[in-house]
């Protein structure tokens, strides 16, 4: 009988692969089904957004920045606006702050629904994906209501919002907030106590609390490992200190705990959204009244010369910021997300660096999958919820 060959096998996973959540390439060394070592290659989605941002005026960077982490678009634009408003020293009116909080929490729900759908589908629960995307459809319709765009509204701008809320906004959001908790219970019925799901996710992809801090894994990954760091609680911004909500944290740091943490985060976001919606008047101010930053209303532009000049200057030159730098991070759906903006005193950024939680999660993939089985790699990649647009920029 011939000898059995026992060397390890090297397998390439990606960059084209349905379960790598984008263009991620993993070269896995396998001993049978066990992953002995792995090497990740990224950069397939690098489009030089940071370099492009240096050529644009401040307000023009917002669409670029929204498209980085394309599932948490409004979190990105919110983080960027906070940093630029810090540079400018702007005080944002309360109504604008509550609208922004509402939109960002809806964005968190949106992103977590995509995560839940794709993660469950990859682990085998295929129907969950369509259910989650059905709920997400309502959120995309709300985006379309306020801005005309579904995924990248560019509604949160430096100085406030693009324009006032439309009629029907409150009803649409309230309908969604009333509908989702029951649906979420249904999806939890499908997964939380499902033996197959538990077998695939319990004890898989474990990372310890100390390693989570060392690898800078803020967000649900760190919280599932027991590290209760939420930027909204530890370094509050944008009025979050006035909202009542809790931050869920796990114990084991495995895939199942990350699932539980994110599902509970959706519920907590619903709680914040209800509080925010009650504070928002249907009409009112939507931006700071600074004439260099906020364009005048169109009816004045058509009738008054000064408003026309102001409109023209804003849209052709944009505003300038004082020289300096600022980094005001927010709690995005994936973790601490922020933009380090450097200004040289002109109307364009000198440097925009996106602090990307997904990049750090990709880096920490190796210790999480080594020693596990190849099927667990899929579960772990789903649980760290990486968006390659943010990893590569």
């Amino acid at each position: 009988m011939s000898e059995l060959r026992t060397e390890t096998m090297t397998v390439n996973m990606g960059p084209q692969h349905p379960s790598t959540h984008g263009v991620l390439r993993l070269v896995l060394e396998l001993d049978g089904e066990t992953v002995v070592s792995s090497a990740a290659t990224i950069g397939y989605l690098h489009t030089g957004i940071e370099k492009t941002a240096e050529q644009k005026k401040w307000q023009q960077v917002i669409p670029l920045v929204e498209r980085m982490d394309y599932l948490s678009a409004q979190s990105n634009s919110y983080a960027f606006c906070l940093s630029v408003e810090q540079l400018l020293g702007l005080e944002i009116p309360d109504r604008v702050r509550w609208i922004r909080v509402l939109l960002v929490e809806l964005q968190r729900i949106n992103s977590h629904l995509v995560w839940l759908g794709t993660h469950a589908m990859e682990v085998g629960a295929i129907s969950v994906m369509l259910y989650c995307f059905r709920e997400r459809e309502i959120l995309l319709n709300i985006n379309e209501l306020i801005a005309g765009f579904r995924m990248f509204p560019s509604y949160i701008r430096v100085g406030g919002l693009r324009e006032d809320l439309p009629r029907g906004f409150h009803e649409a959001v309230r309908q969604f907030l009333d509908r989702l908790p029951g649906k979420l219970d249904e999806y939890e019925d499908l997964l939380t106590k499902n033996q197959i799901f538990l077998k695939r996710t319990r004890g898989v992809g474990v990372i310890s609390r100390a390693n989570a801090v060392a690898y800078s894994l803020s967000g649900p990954i760190g919280r599932a490992a027991g590290w209760s760091y939420d930027v909204r609680k530890v370094f509050p911004y944008g009025g979050y200190e006035s909202f009542e909500f809790q931050v869920p944290a796990g114990v084991n740091g495995d895939v199942y705990d990350r699932y539980l943490v994110r599902v509970e985060e959706i519920r907590q976001s619903l709680k914040i959204c209800r509080q925010a919606l009650d504070r928002i008047a249907p009409t009112g101010e939507w931006a700071v009244k600074d004439p260099r930053i906020t364009p005048p209303p169109k009816d004045r532009v058509y009738t008054e010369m000064e408003a026309l000049i102001q409109h023209f200057l804003i849209y052709s030159q944009g505003f300038t910021t004082p020289a300096g730098n600022a980094y005001v991070p927010v709690e995005g759906p994936r973790g601490e997300q922020g933009f380090y903006v450097v200004s040289d005193g002109t109307n364009r950024p000198w440097r925009v660096k996106s602090r990307s939680p997904s990049l750090l999660a990709c880096q920490a993939l190796a210790p999480m999958i080594e020693g596990g089985m190849i099927a667990d790699v899929i579960a772990v990649i789903g649980s760290i919820d990486v968006v390659m647009g943010d990893v590569d920029r």
Binding site: V27, T41, G43, K51, Q86, G324, Y327, Y340, L359
Partner: protein, 185 residues
């Protein structure tokens, strides 16, 4: 609330000879330091229990060309004991763009420093694994430098069928340094 002068006073006591300057940023306390003082100061910030800067939020660089010193490496740290953030800045000249690595303090600095080397060309001494992260492996130049063009036209490469034996393929394939070891085992 901590501020830069208080921190600098403590650090100066624990790292004698360090030259530390407070910065003037309004959003976080900022300390300017030299590349030589970076590792001792960071060790003190990280290891001292009541300072507790255990979290590296971000590591990046800014190119101030044509001003000199050209590059500014920026570190964003956070301490949960004090609920405080801190920004460290190191200026290095374009002709000698070297900074010691921090990947032994925080493993997360590994890819962040690779990215800075990839996009700016700043060398991190002691990293030992500086290779391209976002750009293709054989790319030349450091794109985020200010003297690098915004758009570059690269001619399309047309692949040709591979010729040669399996052993030749294994020897000549260009792979990441890490995977090279895997393939030859």
């Amino acid at each position: 609330m901590i501020d830069a002068p208080t921190l600098i006073a403590r650090l100066a006591a624990m790292v004698p000879g360090a030259s530390l300057e407070p910065g003037s940023d309004t959003d976080q306390p900022t300390i300017h330091l030299t590349a030589d003082d970076l590792v001792p100061v960071v060790r003190v910030l990280h290891d001292t229990a009541d300072l507790g800067f255990s979290y590296l939020a971000d590591l990046t660089a800014v190119d101030w060309w044509p001003k000199e010193p050209r590059f500014e490496v920026v570190y964003h740290l956070a301490s949960f004991e004090q609920s405080a953030r801190l920004r460290l800045k190191v200026r290095v000249p374009g002709s000698a763009a070297h900074v010691p690595t921090l990947k032994r303090v925080w493993p997360s600095a590994d890819w962040l420093e690779r990215e800075v080397w990839d996009l700016f060309g700043i060398v991190f001494d002691g990293h030992n694994d500086l290779r391209r992260l976002l750009m293709p492996d054989e790319w030349e130049g450091h794109p985020l430098r200010k003297d690098y063009p915004v758009q570059v036209q690269v001619p399309v490469r047309i692949g040709e069928p591979l010729e040669g034996s399996e052993e030749e393929f294994r020897e000549n394939i260009e792979m990441d340094r890490r995977t090279r070891g895997i393939l030859n085992s």
